[in-house]
């Protein structure tokens, strides 16, 4: 019974993402910016997300951060990081990256067995490197172009490719292990809170560093994504023509 409900939620989530992406593609596609054809939609969605964040996520995450002792927060983020390692392992295999795959599997093994089911990050203490790989990166590695920048409701910055990949990511990641729906929902909520709390400082920096938060976030996100896919091995960028004074 519970498995059936779970599968229905998953299908709903996937359907929502696909529906949204199709709506975006069909709808306001022509913007003045060739690098960001959905800019007008993206800006509006960013505004919506910022409102939800200001009203809901940020206060909740701030309260969570104040109430929860650092040790507990570390444990929580380690726990979710451990589950991420499973998904990273799967994606590393798909990307034909044996070292990353082995290290992710090793991390999961060590942390689950010796780290109290992932609450302690023993693997990092041992120096086993963490490789975060999601399905969007796998697609990118296989050569699927990223497509235009797309801002998703609540979830934030993405690209057309990565949004579609999300449909595979979510069931593949955390949710896969937990069948009991209320538990899974609580876990998702906790994970969201922990992520938002860890980003509180970063969002303050964003407020201060950016003249235009939207384009700053977009440019940073797209550069970061390219770098994640090529694993920092990409072309050595950052060159500036010497003729520019």
């Amino acid at each position: 019974m519970n498995t059936h409900l779970g599968a229905q939620w998953r299908r709903l989530g996937r359907g929502l993402v696909l529906m949204l992406t199709l709506a975006v593609l069909a709808g306001c596609a022509t913007g003045p910016n060739p690098r960001d054809p959905y800019e007008s939609y993206n800006r509006r969605m960013t505004g919506f997300n910022d409102d939800v964040d200001a009203m809901l996520l940020k206060p909740a995450a701030t309260a969570y951060k104040e109430v929860t002792p650092a040790v507990v927060r570390t444990g929580i983020s380690n726990f979710f990081g451990n589950l991420e390692d499973v998904w990273s392992f799967a994606n590393s295999v798909l990307q034909l990256r044996p070292q990353a795959a082995v290290e992710s599997a090793l991390r999961f093994g060590v942390n689950t067995v010796f780290g109290l089911y992932g609450l302690l990050d023993i693997a990092s203490e041992m120096g086993i490197e963490k490789h975060k790989e999601d399905f969007g990166q796998t697609l990118g590695r296989w050569g699927v172009p990223s497509g235009p920048y797309v801002v998703l409701p609540i979830l934030g910055p993405s690209t057309v490719r990565d949004s579609l990949a999300l449909a595979v990511d979510t069931p593949g990641g955390l949710a896969a292990g937990v069948e009991h729906v209320p538990t899974r929902n609580s876990l998702q909520a906790l994970r969201l809170l922990e992520t938002r709390a860890s980003l509180l400082r970063a969002s303050r920096v964003l407020d201060e560093a950016a003249l235009d938060k939207y384009s700053f976030t977009r440019d940073v996100y797209l550069q970061r994504r390219r770098s994640q896919i090529s694993d920092g091995q990409g072309d050595e960028g950052g060159a500036i023509e010497p003729s520019e004074p």
Binding site: G81, E129, R201, D212, D219, R224, Q228, G238, I240, E244
Partner: protein, 215 residues
């Protein structure tokens, strides 16, 4: 005086002079460090200073600015960085505007990112092997900052400046795959297109003012 003793003394004096002149000439070449060694030294020294200084860890902005000014800025070609971020409009800007742009940009960067510097605790820096020919005048030095969690990729783009300082200056910075100049180039371009160079200066100054108020 015994002529032989005098000649020996003279010879000794000349040889000492000759040797010391070599010492005068040599440092100019010895100062030109290899770019990766230079970055390793600069980064490690800066981290050590930050770790040892309690005031910086507590977030003392004045101290952080002083640290950046004395240790980091002399090794950065900030004019080139600013000019590249501003783009074609730089050439049309007056020297006054150029100076103001540099000042405001520097204030923005130092104030906003110094918070990250203050968080340094037990990180270590590894410099990856340099992939450049000895005759290259521009290089990218790749480093990794390892703390807890995923290592942070931190790359520097340097230009050769023979005779100045250590012989290399930084003009672009990459954190986690994001190049600083590129990111600010589109930020600045938006402002310049909308309000011109003076508008950009005003926006930067306004942002710096409101950041300073927040403390």
């Amino acid at each position: 005086m015994n002529r032989r003793a005098w000649a020996a003394g003279w010879a000794r004096w000349v040889s000492v002079l000759a040797l010391s002149s070599v010492a005068w000439v040599a440092p100019a070449q010895a100062e030109d460090e290899a770019p990766d060694a230079f970055i390793k030294r600069l980064a490690t020294e800066t981290l050590d200073v930050i770790r040892d200084d309690k005031a910086i860890a507590a977030g003392d902005m004045a101290k952080i600015v002083a640290l950046v000014d004395t240790r980091i800025m002399p090794n950065v070609n900030f004019q080139r960085m600013t000019a590249a971020a501003v783009g074609p409009a730089w050439r049309q800007a007056t020297p006054e505007q150029q100076k103001r742009l540099q000042d405001e940009f520097k204030t923005l960067l130092v104030r906003t990112y110094s918070g990250a510097l203050a968080q340094v605790s037990d990180q270590t820096i590894t410099v990856k092997p340099l992939r450049a020919a000895p005759t290259d005048t521009e290089v990218v030095v790749r480093t990794e900052v390892k703390g807890r969690g995923e290592p942070i990729q931190l790359d520097y783009r340097l230009e050769k400046t023979p005779g100045q300082g250590v012989g290399w200056k930084i003009y672009n910075l990459n954190v986690l795959g994001v190049w600083l100049v590129e990111t600010y180039r589109s930020q600045f371009a938006q402002e310049i297109n909308a309000k011109g160079v003076d508008g950009l200066i005003a926006s930067l100054a306004e942002r710096n003012r409101s950041n300073a108020k927040k403390g």
